[in-house]
Amino acid sequence: MSVDIQAIRERMAVNLATISGLRTEENVPDLVNPPVAVVALEQIAYDGAFQQGLTTLEFNIFVVVSRASERMAQRKLNQFVAPTGTYSIKSAVESDRRLNNLVADLRVRSVTNIGSLQLDDQEYMAAEFAVVVYV
């Protein structure tokens, strides 16, 4: 199976876009416009099987929400980090674990760094999801 990283990122963004009101970026943007989910490639492990039969890609999905109202921001983030539900990032990404047959399987493994994020002198609330993808 060939590895098309850009297509994988785009397809992951398609899955994320099923969450109502959430913007998506398959590439890391210069400026964020929250609420937004940004797909970033973290690392790749080659040669998981003979003859490049398995490549393991690890992505981070950064979800950024506005902190104009801290209470609303935390409530919004709580919905995004929940393991299930309409606004669950995990549920949305895993809604098509084969990414339209681009990959063998994927899993949203964890969410970390839940809290404040400063970008361009602006305060946001954010969370970082780790996604492992097997191709």
């Binding site: 040669d47 998981g48 099987a49 003979f50 003859q51 490049q52 039969g53 398995l54 063998a104 899993r107 493994r109 097997y134």
Partner: protein, 136 residues
């Protein structure tokens, strides 16, 4: 000849190339130790080589797709299979020798793994008959 990093072994089972689902291959060839120690051994044990045997161990990534490795092994338990392992290459050569063996497929673990793990299974088969070695 040079030292090499294991990345491109070829493994086939009954003619089906399963390399891209295989993460480890190990073929061990043994000869039994037959003791010949006697009063003339000067206090040391003595042995000679006896019957030879082999053992093939393979680690796979589970895959139940049509023709994929898990489906392939499903109906082979209890049968004699033909295995070819080419060291560090896809064709036999002096630098990438091919070992061929028939082995008794005496076990298969179709389901294994903990939550969150990549599904894998390992098999170890005893060879039967001679193990072939080819460089062309």
């Amino acid at each position: 000849m040079a030292k090499y990093v294991v990345t491109s072994q070829k493994v086939s089972v009954n003619g089906t190339d399963v390399s891209n689902a295989c993460a480890r291959a190990e073929l061990v060839l043994n000869a039994a130790e037959v003791e010949t120690t006697d009063f003339g051994s000067a206090g040391w044990t003595e042995v000679v080589g006896g019957l030879k045997s082999g053992q093939l161990t393979l680690d796979f990534h589970s895959d139940f797709g049509a023709g994929a490795v898990s489906s392939l092994f499903q109906n082979l338990v209890g049968t004699i299979g033909t295995f070819v392992v080419i060291a560090n290459g896809t064709a036999a050569s002096a630098q990438t020798p091919a070992y061929s063996a028939t082995a008794l497929i005496n076990s298969f673990t179709p389901v294994a793994g903990a939550v969150g793990d990549l599904a894998t299974f390992s098999v170890t088969f005893p060879t039967t008959g001679a193990v072939g070695y080819a460089t062309a």
